[in-house]
Amino acid sequence: MNFQLILQTIINGIQLSSFYALLAIGLSLVFGVAGIANLAHGEFYMLGAYVVWLFYNLRGLNFFAAVLLAMLLVGGLGIVIERGIFKPLRGNVLGVAIISVGLLFILQVLVGQIWGLGYPKRVDDPIMGALHIYGVTIGWQRVIIISASVFLLSMLWLFLQRTKLGRAIRASALDSEAASLQGISINRSATFAMGIGSALTGAAGALMSPTVAVHPYMGHMALLIALIVVIVGGVGNLKGTVLTAVLFGFLYTVITTFLDAVIANIASVLFMVLLLAIKPGGLAEHGT
């Protein structure tokens, strides 16, 4: 094993970790604030990728504008869905999870029927070529994914720490009853959390779209990853989610590099089950 391979694996690990964090953070936020376990999360990711394919690849919109559009559209959809079908079942975690299964099927079929099942869609790289440092190759798309994820996650952190609305959302996550006694509207917190969470998930799909095959069922694997990261990190715990994303990002990269992807998936799942068997509450207890 040489130095270049190690460095390359580390870079790949960082890229995958930042993607995992961006993918899972929305699920964790929504779960923590509103008790919504959205199993259609993978489909939101898929929609983000489709928006980029539709507007960047077919309509020739600027890639970053398309990513922004994906965030707006998927975030908007999240708000509509929260208001329309999750709200009546709030408080019943399993009920919301099951109703989101219906949503999962609806979105998959709609996308498959409107834009076709056939071959997966390909999204072109916005910046061709790669960065070469010390004999290590980093595709520009990977650089974009890493920097955009770090930027978006920092923006989320600033928003939650520094703004009044962000603090209200955190308060709702900590103790919804006490928060509502302070005059914080849980409904408003839940809607905003769902909007922001969905937008970030859409961004994850949009940013990843040039590096993956875009098809209606791409959400399955994304959902599994997001659930693993969120559950191990402790539901609603954003710091835990990011840390777990790094842990599993590196675990997956190392196993994929030296063995193969199926084993990496099995290992990730078994690792999660092992961690849960030791610490049922996840790596960290509640707290945003």
Partner: protein
Amino acid sequence: MGRNFLRPVIGLTALAIILIALPFIITRYYVDLSIVFFAHIILAVSFRLITTTGDFSLAHVPLMGMGAYASALISKYFGWPFWLALPLAALASTFVGLIMLYPLLRMKAFAFFIGSYAIGEALRLSWIRIGIFGGHRGISGIPHPSISFLGFRTINFSGVLPYYFLALAITVLCLLIIYRLDRSRVTDIFKAIHEEDSLVRSVGINVTAYRILAFEVGTFFAGISGVLLAHHFGHIDPHQFNLTTGLYLLIWVVVGGYATFAGPIIGVTFFTLLGELMRPLGAWMPLVYGIILIISLLFLPEGLESLPERMSPLLKKMGIRDRRT
């Protein structure tokens, strides 16, 4: 009282006559469909048995697959007869389920739901990766069952009609066993665990033991369901037992209702009939499933089984109005 006793007897006799006469009337396609329907009934009823303790297991379909794979391997490579393969395969499911339970028992409610999905997916992925399970292509050429008495008289179930009756007999037997269990004191304890597990624990009942019991009995029958499907299709692959199938199972049981024994049977029957009516929709079908699930959870949270109860005040109102006019 005689009348109360007579009514279910008449109903069941009628049902038995219909089910026995049915394969001679309907076409081959519908006989095939009925066999799959029977397997799904066992699957849904055993799934609902586990839910009585509050554990919604998404590992149920992969564990059904475990039964299917075990039976396929036993009958194809060892050449052992069906009547031996059936219980052995169901026990294989039970055994794998027991291993899964070790971490799963530490989880409750929603965590259990997600944990069971993840660990079931690990089982399914291992079939893709481990050579003997045939990878993505799975296992083909699973022999049709045949039963021989002391080696000189053989009943061959290779025809679709004999297999129909075999599946029917196994299904009736499974339902009888689960029904007896559902009527017993054990199920009361299961339900009590669902309601208030700390209270149940405080009166000296071993909650973990009862959760294991519910899960393992359910898994045994899931294994049997898998065996029926494997020998019917003659082919199995990991794709058949993926999340989508598990979510369909969840939809059948949730829309049918899981409070009583009849709920999942109503659910499977409803969706099987619906699937046939809506066959022209083809690929749009999951969308219909999704819409029905959402409407059902929003407006009929106790499932289709609660429909008569919900309708009765309405009907009574109409009845009173009728008398007035």
